[in-house]
Symmetry: C2
Subunit: 464 residues, 2 copies
């Protein structure tokens, strides 16, 4: 928030003392702990909070927020620290609220296809606990992120093309707002027209409007049949064009992921896959046995129309799991391509018809700029990632990378896309907000921030 000022050392010391009184050893001002709770991924600066608290429940979160608000000390929510745009940094200092102890699966309503979780539950832990219910939660960012963090960044992942993003899979939220009150928004009914959709407002607000303390999530039935496969293409453009045709044909593909040749090479090295090092689509179909067969057949035909193939199946669950694990490890695989380099992971999203153009122009830009930067993407949504491996000691390369990122965003926006499909704004993409949104739109966002957090203590320096 513009105009927010770092609290005085006395205010911080007083809050830290009060929090230690309230939470005992679940409040720490240890230097290492503090640095671990600030931004650690990609190239942003590490800006540690003044202390880290680990509340056990919403009541304790209320207490923390009240103490901080009383002295205008920032409150920064923290899940697993896997966000990529500096969301968990503390540029004005303040108190990091680590939600890792709020990790209970509160209820599973299998008959209603929903569940209630605390924010510290991670996506893998949730699916582990759902294993016997025949249900699963599909949203899967690369990291094993916490669901609170996934709510806050409006996360998506590989299944979003079929199951939607966090926006579509949150039924209700409990949020502690800056006033220290608990706001519950939404109920367990599948839809409602009863007033403003506050749940959707908190989804993607990156902790700037409050701290999520409970989440009611939609679940989905584990499909009767799943089939996944790999399809090589001669060029990235051919793979993108096949993706566009697949989506436009209405084929209900569950996942359709692009890896460019460099990312395949990285995955082969990191995950020992032995895949052909050309652009690939990883696809998956969910349905009945017959339905999955039919979908796969149609996809094979579309791929062939764009010179793709052969389309090879991973029929065994363990092969499938290995394939998708490799996809989820693409960030770490990319890091392995250039030891010692920092990986700058970015994402943009464009209308699907512009995908091939956008990826193609970006690849040419990468080559012209002389960067090592594999591309992977949730291409069914028009969303793709570039992981740029930067030698942080080479100032000229850092500068070139910064200019490249600016061109990437400008390219996406010029194609009616967005500067981030799923990573969020955090600190590092704030500079693009004025390009993506009009002054009136930004003014409306600021007015809402001011209305719900008049002191500006909730995660200041993010989004706006």
């Amino acid at each position: 928030m513009n105009g927010f000022e770092r609290p005085s050392a006395a205010a911080v010391a007083a809050v830290t003392r009060e929090l230690a009184d309230a939470l005992g050893d679940r409040c720490s001002a240890n230097e290492t702990v503090r640095r671990q709770h600030a931004h650690t991924l990609t190239w942003g600066e590490n800006q540690p909070p003044d202390c880290v608290v680990v509340p056990r429940d919403a009541r304790e979160v209320v207490r923390v927020v009240q103490l901080c608000a009383a002295r205008r000390v920032p409150v920064i929510p923290y899940g697993t620290g896997t966000s990529l745009e500096g969301h968990v940094n503390a540029p004005f200092g303040g108190v990091c609220v680590d939600t890792s102890l709020m990790n209970r699966l509160v209820a599973v309503h299998a008959e209603d296809l929903d569940c209630v979780v605390e924010p510290g539950v991670t996506r893998k832990a949730l699916n582990e606990q759902l294993r016997d219910t025949g249900l699963f939660f599909p949203i899967d960012p690369g990291a094993d992120a916490s669901l609170g963090g996934m709510v806050s960044t409006r996360a998506s992942g590989t299944n979003a093309v079929r199951y939607g993003t966090m926006k579509d899979n949150v039924l209700a939220l409990e949020v502690v707002t800056a006033s220290g009150e608990i706001v519950r928004t939404g109920r367990r009914a599948k839809k409602s027209s009863a007033g403003y959709d506050l749940a959707r407002l908190f989804v993607g607000a990156e902790g700037t409007l409050g701290i999520v303390t409970q989440i009611t999530l939609r679940l989905h039935g584990v499909p009767e049949a799943i089939s996944a496969g790999v399809c090589p293409f001669p060029t990235v453009r051919a793979a993108c064009d096949a993706t566009i045709a697949t989506i436009q044909s209405g084929l209900p593909v569950a996942r359709i992921e692009l890896l460019d040749a460099l990312q395949v090479k990285a995955a082969n090295l990191y995950s020992k896959l032995g895949l052909p090092e050309t652009p690939l689509l990883l696809v998956e179909f969910h349905g009945t046995d017959a339905g999955v067969r039919e979908q796969a057949g149609r996809f094979g035909e579309i791929a062939a129309d764009f010179s793709g193939g052969p389309f090879e199946w991973a029929t065994k669950p363990e092969d499938r799991a290995r394939l998708w694990q490799a996809r989820h490890d693409s960030y770490w695989a990319a890091v392995g391509l250039r030891p010692g380099a920092k990986a700058v992971a970015t994402d943009i999203c464009v209308p699907i018809s512009r995908l091939a153009d956008c990826v193609g122009e970006t690849q040419r830009d990468i080559a012209a700029t002389g960067l090592v930067a594999p591309i992977v993407g949730h291409v069914g949504d028009g969303n793709f990632h570039v992981s740029i491996l930067v030698d942080m000691d080479d100032a000229a390369e850092v500068a070139r990378t910064e200019k490249f990122l600016e061109r990437l965003v400008a390219r996406g926006l010029a194609m009616e896309g967005t500067c981030t499909g799923e990573h969020g704004i955090g600190q590092l993409k704030r500079k693009y907000m004025a390009s993506e949104h009009s002054p009136a739109t930004l003014a409306a966002m600021r007015a809402i921030k001011q209305a719900l957090d008049p002191l500006g203590v909730m995660n200041p320096g993010k989004i706006l």
Copy 2:
């Protein structure tokens, strides 16, 4: 908004004069026109605005809002007047903004499965204009409502079980806010994490935060194969239980609608259908030829498990159209059951597991209260409607109906449902907001209203 005061006669006269200067004969203070633009359906009072304007574009809407705001005169947006909870009434007088001339299909991006429309386009007009594209817009409230109105009530309808509601099918909005500024929120990318989700905030805000002047909608491919059918059940409970089992099994039914025996009788009378007068499910499947056959077979098995059947197909498009037209005409069919009575149409929505209980208890309540009140429902979403036919000259019956409605909402809320799944709050359900939402939640909604409309001129007396 609490505390809003009716503007002085002088202020209203001045605004009316200024609007007439600006819009010529597209500004009317004619008594009949005014009354036609206030609440006309169900039993709410007709509270006409002071004048009605018919702007041609967003620029004119900005002018109208600026003139009204300057004199603190209310602005009430109007689509087709088919909302059911008094959304278009003018309890404080003011200016009705009729969007019927803003009825252009601005763009169709078939390759991206989206289109851009003005708010006065109706859902049928849109689908008519999309006919040659192979795409359609699925959201279908009973009336041929305007898309601006559908955005504003967060409408859904029979296809929502498969395609979602307006919340899920709006990509971006252009909204004129109380300050007379144009806010654009969202772009054409299928997803974004770039800041607050203002689009979802305006969806369902019932014009209390601004007037929608342009809408970017997601479209869907017309399915290769559609099959629809009618399945009778011995009891409403059996039909609900079959619905629950269908949803829980993950069968991707496109529509699954309940009509109770009384509604079937009404439909037979109104639409000359000749259906068996028992509880019925109307179902529809979308997919490939093989997929649709498979889904229908599975549904038939589920129905039989609950003593339903025989499941009869309407294979011809004209039979299917007649069936769904009858479903959409259910409000008018209900009205026909008791000539001279007023139809009070209400809706609630509960978690699917509670559907059979909720409908069953409601039917017993209807019988015990001595009401004529057929039930229809988008039961796949746990959402159902009761149309109560009330003799408005019988004060005791009116009072009994009011008590019945209160019990219906209390029943839905006790089952973790909502007081409205799709009709919205308007004026008539405001009294339930405090039962559905906590004081902190309502305070957050009021803070947002205050932030975006500090003078309270946007559709006052609605929602909050």
